[in-house]
Amino acid sequence: MPKGTVAITAERCKGCGFCVEFCPTHVLELSSAFNAKGYHPPHMIAPEKCSGCNLCGMYCPDFAIFGFRLAANGESKGATK
């Protein structure tokens, strides 16, 4: 059961790789797919390891990714509005 997950806005991503490098549990990897600008956005390779710490969101220079924690029933928690 994952404790958290990330939301990615692929069109904003510029493929710098900060989120992939600095994720403490190594959840992410740059995908081989392209976005409209020709960059490789990240995707989750180990979603079960995500703790929702939002460190990827803090590092992202383009506001394209953020992490949030999930409650026990799979609903989002904290970041909802």
Binding site: G17, E21, Y59, P61, F63, A79, K81
Partner: protein
């Protein structure tokens, strides 16, 4: 899992002008990373955003005032601090934040930086130091390390660089700190602390510039610069600022260096003027003479 299913949103987004995103910054530029820390600090401190103004000069970091959903002011090159000073004097209730780069604040507007610190104007200055004039084409700035290559120094800069934290400490700033784009959480905490303080507060944020500084000096891409920051950074809170000079391969001393109390400019002005001081002086009617003022 898409975001629409869960109705989640990035907490930073309410502080950004959505219509202006994506930003013009290069892939891996550290300015966006520092904006994340700044936005989180503003949100955590529950600061009245209607009473917060952000002032920027020209340059890559100068774009921050355009991307943030606050009252903002994009001023002429190097003159962000004078505009902010005027804003603070006219509207003392505002939180005035200057967000600009090293070329703007330290090279073109270097004098303003020194004198704002000397006067102890009640403003927070966030200086993004990418060690070069990035937007104008990679010219050498006052912070460009000695012997590094840039567009205007093809044989390497002959001048040593300026240590900004030492400069503003000597000029009398209340709060002086330095972090890098790698230290996102520490930077957020320092910004929170600085937002609560009064007086001239200066935070230097070292940021990678993959397009000019890293490329010209064969230093790899932005990720390489971030890993370099991670490896070389040494956190030393309260370190004397004359020991914090940046060297090409030595340690990068980061932390909160100065935290002192000093009377700020407005307090001194009020005290000295005493009963003659009023917050909102009566507006005098302007007498506009009609027609030709000289006797023709």
């Amino acid at each position: 899992m898409s975001t629409t299913d869960l109705h989640v949103h990035n907490p930073v987004e309410e502080l950004l002008r959505q219509d202006r995103i994506p930003t013009i910054w290069c892939p891996g530029c550290g300015i966006g990373t520092s904006v994340n820390s700044f936005a989180h600090a503003l949100l955590k401190q529950n600061i009245d955003l209607d009473k917060t103004a952000i002032v920027s000069g020209i340059g890559c970091s100068g774009r921050v005032s355009g991307y943030m959903n606050l009252d903002s002011f994009h001023t002429t090159h190097g003159r962000a601090i004078p505009f902010a000073t005027g804003l603070k004097l006219a509207r003392p209730e505002l939180n005035v934040i200057v967000y600009s780069g090293d070329g703007d604040l330290a090279s073109i507007g270097g004098n303003h930086l020194i004198h704002a610190a000397r006067r102890n104007m009640d403003i927070l200055v966030v200086c993004i130091n990418n060690m070069i004039y990035a937007m104008t084409g990679g010219q050498a700035a006052a912070t460009t390390p000695g012997s590094s290559l840039s567009t205007t120094t093809p044989y390497g800069a002959f001048e040593p660089e300026l240590n900004l934290v030492q400069l503003v400490d000597a000029a009398g700033a209340c709060f002086v700190a330095r972090w890098t784009a790698y230290h996102v959480v520490q930077l957020e905490r320092t910004l929170e602390k600085a937002l609560r303080k009064k007086g001239f507060r200066f935070i230097e944020v070292l940021s990678p510039c993959p397009t000019y500084f890293q490329r010209k000096n064969n230093m790899g891409d932005a990720l390489q610069a971030m890993l370099d920051y991670k490896k070389r950074s040494k956190i030393q809170h309260g370190c004397p600022t004359w020991e914090t000079a940046l060297t090409p391969s030595g340690p990068i001393i980061v932390g909160e260096f100065v935290d002192r109390e000093r009377e700020d400019y407005l307090t001194r002005m009020r005290k000295q003027l005493g009963p003659h001081y009023s917050e909102f002086p009566a507006q005098q009617e302007e007498h506009v003479s009609e027609g030709c003022s000289r006797e023709c």
